[in-house]
């Protein structure tokens, strides 16, 4: 396999780069998302743009009673999901001046969730048909013409991203707009985001930008700002789509310490082999005796 685009960055990206490890030669830089939730305004333009561009079908027009979130969760027909969290917090100083009590402040956390395009992607590891593959951009994509809907990737994903579409039986998720990337365009959600809460670009560049943003927020007194999924040493080898959050990840519906399940697979295979051997030996021993007792 080979991929278009050559340059100095490509050379720098070699080694540890998921596209290169997947067999791409001269892969372009790994591309990803940095979703800065501190400037998300909850407009859901990303959800709409994603649905429009990718022709993702409607998945229920329900009132869920969860703030402004009537989208529910990532799945086959939801590739961007804007979470709304309502929290009672200490009032900001200007509110205290107008006579509001210490605990009468309120804040909204808004965050646009998406497939993480993991460095070590469990969905890709477990896919038995080869439908899920690593693109030259380091992203993870399901090929709809190959997927047979076995569903193994669904519970394998530690983030709850993939799901089965009932209307066609196949598994669907964010492609990081693979078609747009190939044409040199940015993904539809990032293009539509009016505040640049969703930033698209080479992952290395995004990581630097994110570190700077956290530093800035900390200096401004927003000490709860933290990055999620940016660390290549985490349980999934770092996410291709990572986040700046203002609270613990589980508050936004994200796992606090995700691990790619296949990390433990060698240990599982060892145990399976030992158990199978024990079964054969045990059965052989059972044949070493008579029939009446």
């Amino acid at each position: 396999m080979s991929a278009s685009g050559e340059g100095i960055l490509n050379v720098m990206m070699r080694g540890g780069d998921p596209a290169t490890e997947a067999g791409w030669e001269d892969a372009p830089p790994r591309m990803g998302f940095f979703t800065d939730t501190s400037i998300c305004i909850g407009c859901k333009a990303c959800e709409v743009a994603c649905k429009e561009w990718n022709e993702v079908p409607e998945d229920g027009l329900d009132w869920l009673g969860s703030s402004h979130d009537n989208t529910r969760h990532l799945g086959a027909d939801t590739w961007r999901h804007v979470a709304f969290v309502e929290q009672r917090v200490a009032a900001p100083r200007e509110d205290e001046q107008i006579g509001r009590g210490a605990d009468e402040g309120f804040r909204w956390l808004m965050a646009s969730d998406v497939c993480k395009h993991c460095t070590h992607a469990a969905c890709l590891d477990v896919c038995p048909t080869g439908a899920i593959f690593r693109t030259e951009f380091g992203t993870v994509v399901v090929q709809d013409d190959i997927c047979n809907g076995c569903g193994y990737c669904v519970p394998a994903c530690p983030y709850g991203v993939l799901d089965k579409r009932e209307s066609d039986g196949g598994i669907h998720k964010c492609t990081l707009c693979y078609d747009r990337l190939g044409a040199g365009q940015e993904p539809a959600c990032a293009k539509a985001c009016p505040t640049e809460s969703i930033q698209f670009g080479p992952l290395e560049e995004l990581r630097e930008r994110a570190a700077g943003r956290v530093e800035l927020l900390h200096e401004a007194g927003v000490t709860e700002a933290r990055l999620y999924g940016e660390d290549p040493a985490d349980g999934v080898g770092g996410d291709g789509a990572f986040f700046l959050l203002l609270d613990e990840p589980e508050v936004y519906g994200m796992p606090p310490d995700p691990v790619v399940t296949t990390r433990d697979l060698p240990a599982m295979w060892n145990r399976v082999a030992v158990a199978a051997g024990a079964l054969l030996v045990g059965a052989a021993l059972c044949f070493g005796g008579g029939d009446r007792s």
Binding site: H73, V126, C150, G253, M254, P255, T261, D291
Partner: protein
């Protein structure tokens, strides 16, 4: 702005991971039938070698029927059943399902050939060799399914990955032994009886170890649908093993009753483990709490190193 004092541990109580889309009857059914088939092939091969034709016939037929039903269930469970052959596009050790597909592709024809040869009397040497091959691969068919479900983010399955292969091997042995006890004459069922009892003991012991390992996630094994099934499964396995082990060699009735209890116990174990996994996937606590604890322990260890 200060951080809020109390943290909700979830987002409106919604699950973190997406629960398996697998249909219970197909997949939990396959976990049982695949185990029954694999271990029955082992019994049939042993019976063939040691001259127990009734056991060879019945266990062989059991393996053939069970694996045929398994294949039907597995194809039926696909979202796009017409594309089942896409499974053979690649072979991936990182996917227990891919490994399983190749294993079944080799095992099923051997098991069916062995039985066909036994029943028809055609090509007996080849049939016996197929039976031995099916027995060897059958051990894998019994146990790989543990890796199949453990290799997911489902807390009750993944965190049980050390014990599940032994639990499944034991459960398969107990089911296959139980079936032979039920159907074959007492004069030939000594090995089946011993295998059934040993399997039930291994199943019960592994489950006990797994419950201890799972910590708070073990709740999913004790409550709700999974709890009811596993409780009944344990009673059937223990009761069946006692009846089969004590009277199963002398009394036809005891062999049938004990054997049936072991087969039913094995099936309920698989359906129970399946249900526990679904519960652990659907309630975010089982994903969040162990991960928070793991993260806190790691951070404490790092802080400890820094302090030194």
């Amino acid at each position: 702005m200060k951080r809020p004092q109390e943290y909700p541990s979830s987002y409106y109580g919604r699950p973190i991971i997406n629960a398996p889309t697998w249909k219970e009857l197909d997949v939990a059914g396959y976990l049982f039938l695949g185990g029954l088939a694999g271990a029955s092939s082992i019994l049939a091969a042993g019976a063939s070698v040691t001259g127990r034709p009734a056991v060879e016939r019945r266990s062989g037929a059991c393996a053939t029927t069970a694996i045929t039903l398994s294949l039907v269930a597995l194809v039926h469970d696909l979202g796009r059943p017409k594309r089942f052959l896409h499974m053979l596009r690649v072979a991936k050790p990182s996917s227990p399902m891919s490994v399983g597909v190749w294993l079944l592709s080799a095992y099923a024809p051997l098991a069916i050939a062995a039985t066909a040869s036994d029943v028809t009397g055609v090509a007996r040497p080849l049939g016996r060799a197929s039976g031995l091959g099916a027995a060897g691969l059958g051990a894998g068919v019994c146990t790989y399914t543990a890796a199949l479900i453990a290799n997911t983010a489902v807390p009750a399955w993944h965190d049980g990955h050390r014990e599940l292969p032994f639990l499944f091997a034991g459960s398969a042995a107990s089911a296959a032994g139980g079936f032979a006890l039920m159907t074959a004459p007492l004069a030939q069922t000594g090995p089946a009886r011993r295998l059934a009892v040993a399997g039930a003991v291994a199943e019960l012991a592994s489950e006990r170890l797994m419950e201890r390992r799972l910590g708070m996630v073990a709740e999913t094994l004790h409550t709700g649908k999974a709890g009811r099934r596993l409780k009944a499964a344990k009673a059937l396995a223990a009761g069946g093993a006692i009846v089969a082990g004590t009277l199963g060699g002398r009394s036809r009735t005891a062999a049938v009753v004990g054997g049936a209890a072991l087969v039913a116990g094995s099936a309920l174990t698989r359906f129970g483990i399946f249900a526990a996994g679904m519960t652990s996937a659907e309630d975010p606590r089982y994903t969040v709490e162990p991960q928070r604890a793991r993260k806190a322990a790691r951070e404490a260890a790092t802080a400890g190193v820094r302090a030194d």
